[in-house]
């Protein structure tokens, strides 16, 4: 069980900290498309409010024939809300809920985890760099658009979740104990029916001393995502649009540390492929995607069951609405 200490924790944080979800869950019939997993470069309308929900179901590969304590699945629900303070600056609040289960159910956890806040600054290139204006025509939307975003979590979840024996496994906990920080940037360009999105982000974790006096520090995470949307169909009468989406999602995980020492069976590099569909209807957007690891280079690959790169699949579902 020890090996899960940091490994599975990554998974929970990645989902709640990963920007992208909200800035993008919506789009117009002819404007740039929004990816499933990557962040695009859209900001909210001034005084616009966004409600957001993302569900992620993760199923891990298991390697032993018996029913033991191998990680079996994770589920994440992220409830979010966004507000457009200006046309070029949006703020978001995310409230994640997670459920983690091992094969023999010896240590399952579920509950709300650390909430996070995020700010997104949007700008574009149109005869020079400029902040996103109040209104853009469809032709303006074809310009290169960019965002930089930054956020932090608040330690509202329980970082010291214990099993029935009173054992703390940080990887199964419902919080990180201390804030973690994110910094990222995106670029988006529409080419006719295609939309290209590039997104890179970095996450930094603080060291936290658990109730059992052990200190844990998760390795930093660096992501590079690329996504290509294709507008399959539009129906203006019914305010309907359907996009197909292909993404490549690269993740570099730093090695974790326990009491200052590098933790075995943590960290590595993973390349995921995500394919999905996004349906837009009126002010609503529905995304569905399947994300699978296609290439991995984990630090101690045979020992990292339950870690990123060891999934059978990740099933992604998102819903957003402009209020």
């Amino acid at each position: 069980m020890r090996k899960y200490f940091f490994i599975s924790f990554f998974i929970s944080f990645q989902v709640c900290a990963h920007h992208g979800i909200a800035s993008l869950g919506v789009a117009g019939l002819e404007g740039p498309g929004a990816p499933i997993e990557s962040s695009s470069s859209a900001t909210l309308n001034q005084q616009g409010t966004l409600a957001y929900l993302k569900l992620e179901q993760v199923r891990f590969k298991t390697y032993t024939p018996e029913i033991d304590n191998e990680m079996k699945n994770h589920s994440y629900w992220i409830y979010g809300a966004g507000y457009g303070f200006t046309p070029y600056f949006s703020g978001y609040l995310f409230v994640p809920y997670q459920s983690k289960n091992v094969e023999n159910n010896s240590f399952n956890t579920s509950g709300f985890t650390d909430i996070s806040v995020q700010g997104v600054l949007g700008f574009k290139y149109d005869q020079g760099l400029k902040l996103i204006p109040v209104k853009e025509s469809l032709d303006d939307l074809e310009d290169w658009h960019f965002t930089v975003y930054s956020g932090l979590s608040l330690p509202t979840g329980d970082a010291n979740t214990k099993n029935s024996n009173g054992y703390i496994d940080g990887g199964m906990s419902l919080g990180f104990g201390k804030p973690h920080y994110s910094l990222g940037a995106t670029a988006t360009k529409q080419f006719g029916k295609f939309t290209l999105t590039l997104d890179s982000s970095y996450l930094y974790f603080n060291e936290y001393q658990y109730a059992d006096k052990n200190k844990g520090k998760f390795g930093s995470e660096w992501r590079f995502n690329s996504a290509l949307n294709y507008r399959l169909l539009t129906n203006a009468e019914n305010k309907l649009r359907l996009d197909s989406i292909l993404e490549l999602n690269y993740l570099n995980l730093g090695r974790d540390k326990t009491n200052g020492e590098a933790e075995q069976a943590t960290g590595g590099n993973i390349l995921y492929a995500t394919s999905g569909l996004r349906l837009y209807y009126d002010k609503f957007s529905l995304g569905l995607g399947l994300k699978i690891p296609i290439k991995t280079n984990l630090n101690e690959e045979p020992l990292q069951q339950g870690s990123e790169g060891k999934e059978k699949y990740r099933l992604l579902f998102s819903f957003s609405a402009l209020l």
């Binding site: 800035s23 900001t43 309308n45 109040v134 209104k135 303006d140 305010k239 002010k283």
Partner: protein, 232 residues
Amino acid sequence: MKPVIFIFFILNSICYAHEIWFLDEGNAQVLHYGHFTAAHQGAQTIDYPATYLKQTLCLDQNQQTLSPQISQTSPIQIGGNCALTYALLSSGFWTKTLEGSKNLPKNQVNHPLKSWQSFESIKRIKIWHTGFIKPVTQTLELLPLQNPLSLNLNDKVSLKLVHNGQPVKNAIVLYLGQPRGQTDDNGEINIRLKEKGLQLIQATYRQPSDGLQADEIVHTTHLLFEIAGEKS
């Protein structure tokens, strides 16, 4: 995300309105009415009475007013070497009824459903003058904020929509018959020129009327200019 409401709104508001435009024929400009985009693919013009014409203006390249010869028959022909040519047409009052739309004011039909007074204008710029960034009439006008004749394919033209010289916000602007966006609070919008040759940009502004003869006045204006090359 930000474009959601906006884009859906404009797409929901596609109006298959007619367009007006000029074509050079001999030494005159002929005023056509119909569907400009389709016209390039095979002429879809509609006959209209010459009495629709309410006002014309012809300015030379020094912004001096000329008095060109104007035909009294349809299609209307305007002679002279105009750097800027303007024409205002009105088909009068229209009232929608259960039996269809009638070319009559609201107070002259039974059971009116919806009524409006229609004004359509066109401004063609053939030779640029810096003064053309200002309105030349008090009607609805699309003003180019730079010399549009110097633009190339895929450049964006910045425009300002004004009525009585005042910016008109939230008006839908069409290019090649398709809505491309709404004007901002300053009446401005950018349109990318995606075809060579003649460029026709259209905007509509609806104004409440007295309710006696019509519920509203519908002003539609067109800006016509040409960029290098032929339309592909």
